[in-house]
Symmetry: none
Subunit: 536 residues, 2 copies
């Protein structure tokens, strides 16, 4: 933690992301270990100062996550482990939670402790003195063994309003024990900003250690409360991407960060990283399997959408007339809902990234634009499917060869026993250079059977496909509210041991959507490695 | 409008709902005339003081709406028409927009006018003096003919920061012309609360007419900005139900109202009406055809959901431990999410909710716990599948009858054309009371075909299933990192027009997982309604 600096103008705020713990506790989110590792790397790249990985030891998933996560070479983020202050009547060294934090291999820990008398009396059922000892022991024990220890003062504001004396003694105990930052938590999310602000103002002079803020959104005020606390001197902000979290969620860092940086002269991340904010938001939404909220401030699809003719013409003359910030600053873009003229710059950027030159190829750029818009209307999204987008571009530039033709396939699932899953089998007939291959395979479900049959048929001609594995498979039902008759989008992540790539398919039929993504996955590999490196 | 009263403690706030105009301008909402009439009556019943109907004359829908709306016998809400100040170089009496407001038959009008010099110069392209005349003429003309006229000061805050002199002259012109309330608009939604608050504080002593606030949510701060303005003396709050509106939406009245009433001692509606807030939110979401946001503060499905065992047991002892308000106050309810981290207390609470008595049935409670843990290990999650959980409980209590036996099914997807999706067909053979039914159906994809075939077979025996529809279908690939060979979890939401219920299925085979959820959905309906209400 950097030193506390009072209210100097361009204070550097410390970002503490809790998506992997609080987000994962949301009723409808359940990250896999792989999801968590990918998000950790993404957040590190974005510029978070701390990324909270979860509770080590709480479940096998988190334990396995920490084992791999501590070995990653992060650029700047510090991985933190979360835990509670020790149990009553146990020494910190013998507390199982605290021991697993140490075992996890992290260098930074965040401990949450009770500071509201109601919880001390009714939930913990210990004396105030024992609660203070629990805080003091746990922090000083960990502080001797780790680089940094943060103290999350649970229900700090409720506690302060009910019994300021005990609540203050709790955070002073944490300070004395060596906590590097004390985070004031609005755990129930019930604070209104004016009251919260007044309390931070009162508490600020009473401790010397840097303060942080951890706000929940139960009153729709988590972002406002976070900004208010910062204005009163807090330097660390805890929150989550897209505000994911229990109940109504946590302070949404996708709103907090641009407000601080663009409106309050408090830089958080380099400008060029802020321009990846929207991508970061979409990436986490994708892995969380959540439909991105189109209305979401700064990063939502509609955040800079203009509908009425008056607005559109005013914005075209001067964007400031109806835009509070330039959308590019957060990687978003202006959308005119009637006639969309945006997007070309994005395509240029992408082409560069893929090593494609669009200069002097006006027709191709236009065709890519048109195709992409057309595909997006059908439900395709390329944010999470770079390989499919590269194939789309190469096709427009005449650089996508045809590796095979499909003659036909059939997938069959048959169930004969109530307790047994169906038996799945697929047949595929393809043609390469006039030679036809007709083959069949079984699988664990229809998509797996189809994948097996397709690759079995193709490996005869392209042995380099043998190294390709499906790493991840995601299905998203697109909104339209017609039950199983709706469209689905399938995202497939493939790998060959050296790199990974992702592809997309959309259809009302899940088999068809999967087929499209499977074909893209195979063709991408063949495009990258047209000749087999091994013997056929 | 009631008189302005400074900052007396229990000030009565005036609620101005703009869902029918701002909400209707949202990119994905399009109310019909009938929707608008129904919402108007709902909002009147809820206790709104003013309901803005739209722009009369802007389109045939709004014109027809006003014709019918002015004839309704509203209990307390006043219907208002929206329009702009007169055009440059026209008298108010000849301005077409102002004339249609008069023709619409309303008694209250809200006029929006420019107050930011940038807009006066670049969008209107008139002199400051002419802009002032436009405001003055339009308001005094309407004020002579209607009961009340409100002035929406567009871009008030941006204007005040850029050129306070002109902006103040604009609102003073409105005051002199007889406006009953001047609403300070953060049209671009870019304000942070501390700055907005400071400006309201400066402006408050400069006019005598009551002030209002109209905030957009582009910075995730619309609710906070509305509350801040009220704390500085504003008495009218403009907002929308669920925050629906252009771009990132407007101040969400479903968050503003309970915060004012329950936390700031500013009553808005009678207590018993506040208890219908959630219903009001759902009603508008339904007509707007928007999936209700589960995370939404106060009214969302998860707003009072508790997951972890520690939280559940604390809330059961004393709800204040993890709830900022009693959920009933806004018509919401506490939910205990059943998950692998919850304990026996959750199960007991759930059983009560389903009307099941576990007392004296220790074995059953244990069996439910064991089964649930077992199922959760396999990937089942009951947080989003209450109906499946109720079936699981009833089975443990011996209260789940067998409605049919599966003899077998087969699903086939065949693709013969590269550009066409596969053709999907399912056959199902079931047996009810010794009678076998064997049938087939096609569908949009394999799951839809299977759903169609299953219900076709069962409707012969259970005609009450005819009303059952699939409302939503979700697929989640469970972590394990083996691509299409991973397990999938399917969540199905079903409805029969009266209520909705959700079920879950898990398998490595998506057809099997869907089948389980489909069977649960059908069985739940049969359990709720064992006899057909119509003739078989």
């Amino acid at each position: 933690m950097k030193k506390r600096k009072g209210s100097s103008r361009a204070r550097r705020i410390v970002l503490y992301d809790s998506t992997l713990r609080e987000g994962d506790q949301s009723a409808h989110i359940n990250f896999s270990k792989e999801d968590k590792l990918r998000i950790l790397e993404k957040l590190d790249d974005f510029g978070m100062d701390y990324v909270e990985g979860g509770w080590p030891g709480a479940n096998p998933k988190d334990t396995a996550f920490f084992q791999e996560a501590v070995r990653l070479n992060l650029k700047q983020a510090k991985l933190t482990a979360f835990g509670m202050t020790r149990r009553p009547e146990v020494t910190a060294s013998r507390d199982p939670g605290i021991r697993t934090i140490l075992r996890s291999g992290v260098r930074v820990a965040t401990l949450v402790g009770k500071t509201w008398d109601l919880h001390v009396k009714e939930a913990l059922r210990v004396s105030y003195e024992e609660n203070l000892r629990m805080i003091r022991d746990s922090i000083s024990f960990l502080k001797e063994r780790l680089e940094e220890v943060f103290f999350d003062a649970e229900h700090f504001f409720d506690g302060y309003m009910a019994n300021p004396e005990h609540t203050l003694r709790c955070i002073q105990a944490a300070e004395e024990a060596g906590a590097d930052c004390i985070i004031l938590c609005d755990t129930n999310g019930g604070m209104i900003p004016s009251r919260l602000r007044q309390i931070v103002r009162e508490v600020f002079p009473l401790v010397k250690v840097p303060l942080g803020i951890h706000a929940h959104n139960d009153s729709d005020l988590a972002v406002a409360n976070s900004l208010a606390a910062v204005q009163e001197g807090a330097v660390q902000i805890q929150g989550t991407i897209n505000g994911y979290g229990e109940r109504c969620g946590n302070a949404n860092l996708c709103s907090v960060i641009p407000s601080l940086q663009l409106k309050m002269n408090m830089p958080c991340v380099p400008k060029e990283k802020l321009r990846t904010l929207r991508e970061c938001s979409r990436f986490v939404a994708e892995l969380a399997n959540q439909i991105p909220d189109r209305q979401r401030p700064y990063v939502g699809e509609n955040a800079f959408s203009h509908k009425g003719g008056i607005h559109v013409s005013a914005v075209t003359k001067n964007p400031r007339t109806y835009e509070h910030i330039p959308p590019e600053a957060v990687g978003n873009q202006r959308r005119f809902l009637v006639s969309d003229v945006s997007g070309k710059s994005t395509i240029g950027e992408k082409a560069k990234q893929f090593g494609l030159d669009l200069k002097g190829k006006k027709g191709a750029a236009q065709e890519i634009m048109d195709t992409m818009k057309d595909m997006e209307k059908k439900g395709y999204r390329y944010e999470g499917a770079d390989a499919s987008f590269e194939l789309l571009m190469k096709k427009a530039l005449g650089k996508r060869p045809k590796f095979f033709n499909l003659v036909g396939f059939r997938v069959m699932d048959e169930k004969r026993e109530e307790r047994e899953p169906p038996y799945s089998e697929a047949t595929v007939m393809i043609e390469v250079d006039g030679k036809v291959e007709h083959t069949a395979a079984e699988g664990e479900g229809p998509v797996n059977a189809l994948d097996n049959a397709l690759r079995k048929a193709l490996e005869k001609f392209y042995p380099q496909l043998r190294s390709v594995r499906l790493v991840d498979y995601k299905v998203r039902v697109l909104p339209s509210g017609e039950g199983t008759g709706s469209h689905v989008r399938v995202l497939i992540q493939s790998g060959d041991g050296k790199r990974e790539w992702s592809t997309v398919g959309v259809s009302y039929n899940i088999i068809e959507a999967s087929w499209q993504a499977l074909v893209d996955a195979v063709e991408y590999k063949l495009l990258m490695e047209p000749k087999s490196s091994r013997k056929a």
